[in-house]
Amino acid sequence: MKRWRARPDELLFRAGTGVFALLLIVLVAGIGVELYRQSRLSIHEFGWKFWQTDVWDPVSGEFGARPFIWGTLYSSVLALVLAAPIAIGIAIFLSELSPLWLRRPLVFLTELLAAIPSIVYGLWGIFVLVPWIRSLEVATPPWMKTIPLFTGPPIGVGMLSAAIILAIMVIPFTSSVAREVLKAVPQAQREGAYALGATRWEAIRMALFYARTGIIGAVMLGFGRALGETMAVTMVIGNTPRISLSLFAPQYTMAAVLANEFAEAGDDLYLHALVEIGFVLFIITLIVNIGSRVFIWSLGRQPRSARVADAAAATAA
């Protein structure tokens, strides 16, 4: 065994493929290093003040990025509030309730939701969703307008449109992971519940409880997607750097300011300020994604084997 391992062609093969594996790891580290390198001017110039001030005026050299981080977090949280119950409902329906003949077409259709390019959602958002939201805002009764959530003029573009578009885009990711997680719950769990006289929902609730960390992981994964989503949000959120609780107010996100201003950033400080926004977005999504994976993994190794089984069903098994 030892001599066989030491054969030079074996070593060559291992090194030859290993180099490319290593390249992938270097690439991820390289993204972090490169983003830091390109943003150090701004990091040194502004420090923490960058994230604590609200004025974004590149012409006069004022760079306060707090509205962007607010817009990114607020829109993503709102999107998850809308998307999580629907996505979990879909996962339950597809893994526990759906008749067999309906399951595969429904899985295909919900995954199609993820296949449609972001720009197409954005286009639909500008010309179809935003006018609908505008008429909804116009129809808002005056007493509701006094609640901080619904203040401001009815313009259509703004936080509500962005959150709805994001929710639509995030649903397929969350539901497909939640479905895998539910699939990993041992069948005996449900059978035990039924044996004790549980109703369908009570058995499902047992399964959900068993898979709770995985479900949290699935929702977090959707959150990570929402944080980084760019085009559709850029096109409907109104691109106004300001902090507001109002769903009707046009706001801005980190990804959107990069999309709008990066190509035109003239001087170095401006460019570095924008890259710093990208750098922080990178770190936030990294933390959220790793966190979600830790949650999913903590269910044991079952979700992994479920995923492999999934690939098997989809391809060759």
């Binding site: 074996e10 690439l27 939701l113 390019p117 720009i119 397929p172 980084g228 098994a317």
Partner: protein
């Protein structure tokens, strides 16, 4: 008695709600597809596929350069991503238990979660800044980075599904490890891997954000990889936010072309996997 009835009612209500969630998610899908087809189909004429954009405010023109540009930029990305993804995937599958294998798996999953706009910023620093110009090549680098984890993970998962007996048979006949992998294991998994590559291609072909400041845009027909180039997605974006009705019309047409490409790839992949499954069951 009353309690039992309430439990049954709650249970039925939840079942109905879960079904409603599915319907609720499919409504936007239907709406988006309906609008893209109904708004876009009228503008899909010969001019759209054979002409370059008209100057602002003038009627007519098409997206010929953008369609070619999209294929070119995505193609450049594939040229980068396919060999690296395949070989890294082979390593992860062959040396599955090693530290490097689990690290590369983790790196791929991490990379998969990095927002596409951030990858654009990275590609800008890597391939635009040093040469002081936006280029098709830089756009290809960005898309390649996005395809890489998809291809690597598919390759790995599919190689692991190949029965060990195949590999062992090859080794028993005196094949080297490399020989066994490249002549026996990879060919066995190839149809699935190709399907995965097709899906990765379709996914990044619809990307806009990483191209905004790498490939930029171009009014004219260009196939020069060192120059800025127009792509379908960026063109749809710039037309969508323009003030001209004629450009809006063309943006819808561009979106229809994009959706058609993506749907075709998904359907082909689905058809291929269904066929593979049948073949396997028959064997």
């Amino acid at each position: 008695m009353m309690r039992d009835r309430r439990r049954r009612v709650v249970s039925h209500a939840i079942v109905v709600l879960c079904g409603a969630a599915v319907v609720l998610a499919l409504i936007p899908l239907a709406l988006v597809l309906f609008y893209v087809v109904s708004q876009g189909i009228g503008s899909l004429n010969r001019e759209f596929f054979t002409h370059t954009p008209a100057p602002p405010g003038e009627l007519g023109g098409g997206m010929a350069n953008a369609i070619v540009g999209s294929l070119l930029v995505t193609g450049i990305g594939a040229v980068f991503a396919i060999p690296v993804g395949l070989l890294a995937g082979i390593y992860a599958a062959e040396y599955s238990g090693t530290r490097l294998a689990s690290s590369v798996r983790f790196a791929a999953d991490t990379l998969n979660g990095v927002p596409s706009i951030v990858i654009g910023v990275f590609a800008y620093g890597l391939a635009v800044l040093p040469f002081h110009r936006f280029s098709a090549l830089a756009g290809g680098v960005a898309l390649g980075v996005m395809m890489l984890p998809l291809i690597m993970r598919t390759t790995e998962e599919l190689l692991k599904l190949v029965p060990t007996t195949l590999r062992e048979g090859a080794l028993a006949l005196g094949a080297t490890r490399a020989r066994a992998v490249f002549s026996v294991v990879v060919p066995a998994a190839l149809p699935g891997i190709l399907t995965g590559i097709l899906l990765a291609f379709a996914r990044v072909a619809g990307e806009t954000a990483p191209l905004l400041f790498t490939a930029l845009n171009n009014q004219y027909f260009s196939t020069d990889v060192r120059q800025p180039i127009s792509t379908l997605t960026v063109q749809v974006f710039s037309y969508a936010i323009s003030p001209y009705a004629d450009w809006h019309r063309q943006a819808w047409a561009g979106a229809l072309v994009l959706v058609t490409i993506v749907l075709t790839c998904s359907l082909v992949a689905r058809f291929a996997t269904a066929r593979l499954e049948r073949m396997h069951r028959g064997a």
